[in-house]
Symmetry: C2
Subunit: 376 residues, 2 copies
Amino acid sequence: MAGGIGSRFWPFSTNEKPKQFLDFFGTGRSLIQMTVDRFRPLVPIHNVLIVTNIAYREMILEQIPDLPVENILCEPARRNTAPCIAYATARIRAMVNEQRTKEQGQRTANIVVAPSDHLILNEAEFLRVVQEGFDFVEQNDALLTLGMKPTRPETGYGYIQKCRVESLECRVVESVKFKEVVKVKQFKEKPDLETAKQYVAAGDYLWNSGLFIWSLKSIENALTEHLPEVASIFAKGEKLMGTEQETAFIQEYFPQCPNISVDYGIMEKAKDVYVLPADFGWSDLGTWGSLHELSEKDADGNVATHCNAKFYNAHGNIVALDDKGQRTKDEGQKYVVIEGVDDMIVAQSGDVLLVCKKQDEQQIREFVKDYELFKL
Amino acid sequence: MAGGIGSRFWPFSTNEKPKQFLDFFGTGRSLIQMTVDRFRPLVPIHNVLIVTNIAYREMILEQIPDLPVENILCEPARRNTAPCIAYATARIRAMVNEQRTKEQGQRTANIVVAPSDHLILNEAEFLRVVQEGFDFVEQNDALLTLGMKPTRPETGYGYIQKCRVESLECRVVESVKFKEVVKVKQFKEKPDLETAKQYVAAGDYLWNSGLFIWSLKSIENALTEHLPEVASIFAKGEKLMGTEQETAFIQEYFPQCPNISVDYGIMEKAKDVYVLPADFGWSDLGTWGSLHELSEKDADGNVATHCNAKFYNAHGNIVALDDKGQRTKDEGQKYVVIEGVDDMIVAQSGDVLLVCKKQDEQQIREFVKDYELFKL
């Protein structure tokens, strides 16, 4: 999933070049490149589908040159994650049918759905967990989500409450083999700080990562059951998927989908929903604050990315300057002096400079709106 | 005088393009252009001398195209204001002698010495005061400085204490004609805040503006008496001034001058030192804080120059972004969001971004040093 614009990371992340295409850590690899690379040991590139906006098609081809061009699925409109997943599911169905025809065999598919702009530190553990999930969904008609063991009372994430493993309702059929998997009791919206603290103290809450694993059949059934209006749209185009008429079909019918998340539209309603608690150093990189937390800090807790920053009597700040390739190698990085301030975001990209308290970063969406009005 | 580098205005002001060459107020005129223009009604351009560093010669010719090229006096080294004034004095002596020879008459000159990077709001009043000063020094062998009536206990300026006009020592010979002029009792270094408050309350202190008026003869005599080592250097080159050998002479001998200000070297030592109290909206534009004070503010006391700034819960800040002509007209000015901070300087120019508390702006010199070390 690579259609978002990551507006809370403005001004780095913009409509023209959203967060997933940025090299946040100065490693030379963008978040989407890191995401694709992460799956390579498990998923051959011709089985990787990227659902995005037409505007980002060229950027994807440029950043992932070995991705088959037909594996980029372009949404003509933003409709949140459920229609995005339904589109990919329809295409995977066509791919499976195509292979079945060719090979005269019965084929299915296991699917992992991942945002393209998250950070995962321990890739080996990540792959182990995804493989565990594949094994689980191959043997169970279930929807599986990866739940992150919380390390702090984060208010920027949704939470998943596990069932107590002792409780009968929570036993997975093959509970021995998949002893790490537990049933989901309920999904929780982003909490306030007090509630988040209670969740972490309770011990049976996990962060909702937005990473899903299921079989083709299970997600098709769930779509039909819980989002019939979406399923029926894609049923119309079933024969067109993977053909030359797919684009025209999507262009016309995709915008008719409701704007709805897969969490709200399916996961919270379906019965056979399971969570695999995991711990592989995950962040959704949703905000400057989360980037600050994840980054290497100096002795005063300051972080500087993409620039040479010098801090004087300053603590807990994050400074990021993006030059979007306008800089020649000779010029070197920009030099920033930060004096006398604590816990600030100082970010510059393109024609925008942002100076904002970390604790007020939820206001960035408002700044972006004002900026866009100004630009008109 | 245009040889300074205005380092407290970093990163706008740099070695490569100091403060006097910058268009601070977005009027389309740099400070040095405004300074030259200010004198035009009183001083013909062929009588304007600009003492500066060789590095800035081209910039001056570009910014003041009608200035005769020989009127730019290039210092091969920075030696503060006394040698700078001695050099200009020597050249003016040569100009006067040249004219005397041509016209067979006895000629002298009245001189006004002005920094090139100060702001003066009321130009008519300024010209009136300078003319008053000319009239005074034409009739009196005296050194005159313009003293600014203080409007606040500024710690960034030196002060001049006037003699009480009743006191005998303070009476100027022609006291009726020059009733505004009073004798200087003493010069005072930049005070701390408490002392500055006492000065302002006392009523007999003026800000030392660095603007001087005297006759050619008076400054020559003062140099000979109080800075004989400087005077003797220029006596050596007397015959060379205004000739093709001047540059070579200056190149060799100017660096031998001591590094000393005219205030310390002459004004504080000479006897016939007078001050003309004046009030024409003056600032030395020494710091970001002084620019903030002088600029038009929004309802929250914020100032934005050279950019489109939007302030959220922010007060008393000054934001300045300089693009040094790298921007095309189509691109428009940069957009800055400032949230949750008070009394800050946010300034960007070239490859440098500065975020600093206004009250700590005296540290900017230190930042510049660190930056220059970093660049090595």
